[in-house]
C-alpha cells in the first residue's frame, strides 16, 4: 500500500494494514513520546497517531488514518488521501530482502520513491522513550 502525507511518501506491506478510515478526532495526552502526534479513538480503543518524520510535523492535518497492526495492538498513521494499492507488477523493489535489511529502503512506483515502513521497528522506538528525560516540544500541543 502506498500513501502520502506531509512527512513524505510511504509504502507499507498490506499484511500490516487493518483499515483506512477518515482521520478521527485527535486527542492530546500528556507524557507521550514525541513521535506520537496524539491519540485517536478507533473501535473503542485509543490508538497513537504516529509522526513519520520531523517531531514537529503536522500529522494532524491529514484526512485519513491508516490503522496498522503491531505486536501489542494497533497504531494509526496519517494519510492525506486514500492510499493506493497498485498491482504488484507495477512496483519496483530494488534489492529488497529480509525485513532487517529493508530498513530505510524505498520502493518505486511510477518512478517515484516511497519509503518502506517497518512499523514494528517504529513502535519499538516508542517504548524506549523515557518521559523523565528533558521534555521535547513534540506532543506539548496543549
Amino acid at each position: 500500500m502506498l500513501f502520502r502525507n506531509r512527512d513524505g511518501a510511504f509504502a507499507l506491506p498490506l499484511a500490516d494494514v487493518l483499515a483506512v478510515v477518515p482521520l478521527p478526532k485527535i486527542r492530546f495526552l500528556p507524557l507521550l513520546p514525541p513521535e506520537v502526534a496524539g491519540m485517536v479513538v478507533h473501535d473503542g480503543e485509543a490508538l497513537p497517531l504516529l509522526r513519520l518524520a520531523a517531531q514537529d510535523s503536522s500529522a494532524t492535518a491529514s484526512a485519513f488514518a491508516v490503522i496498522c497492526a503491531v505486536s501489542w495492538g494497533r497504531v494509526a498513521l496519517p494519510a492525506d488521501a486514500v492510499p493506493r494499492v497498485p498491482a504488484p507488477e507495477r512496483f519496483e523493489t530494488p534489492g529488497l530482502s529480509t525485513a532487517d535489511e529493508n530498513a530505510g529502503r524505498h520502493v518505486l512506483y511510477d518512478q517515484a520513491p516511497y519509503l518502506l515502513l517497518d512499523i514494528e521497528r517504529i513502535v519499538a522506538e516508542l517504548s524506549r522513550w523515557d518521559f523523565r528525560q528533558p521534555s521535547p516540544s513534540g506532543n506539548q500541543e496543549v
Binding site: K25, P30, V36, V41, E45, G73, Q140, V142
Partner: protein, 145 residues
Amino acid sequence: MSCSTGMSLVFRLGDVGFSLAAEDLLEIREEDSRELFAADVPPAMLPFRDGEIPVVNLRRLFRLPDNPRREVSGKYLVLAGARGNWAAPVDRVLGVYPSSAFTRCPAPLLSHLPGPRPYGDVELWRDELLVRCDALWLEQCRRGI
C-alpha cells in the same frame, strides 16, 4: 463519603481533561494562586483546617506547559493521600458525574511505555478522552518521579 462512591470528578489543566474518583476528593477551594503556584521546592503550602497541606503542581508532574492566562484566584482540589492530605491547583472543575457517564477506553500504548508514569488509563467522557488519575498514585509519583 459513601455518597460519592462510583462518582468521578472531571477537571482540566490547559486543554487536557482528567478524571478522579470523587471519594478521593475532600474539598474544592478557591485561593489566591500567586504564591502557591511558585516552585515546588520547597513545596508551597495551603492552609487547610487547623494546619497546612502541601501543594502539588500537577502541570509539572504531567510535563504540561504553564498556563500563561493564569488567574490570580485559582481552584484547588484537596485530596486524601496515604501520608496526609494534599492540594493540587487546576484550571477548571467541570463537575462530578456518575460512573455511567464514563467509558473505559483501552490504550495499549500506555502500558508499553517505560514507567512508572503518573497515569496508565484513559476514559471517554462526552466524546473527550480523559486522563484517569488515582490520588494515591499521584501522591506517590510526585515523590518518586
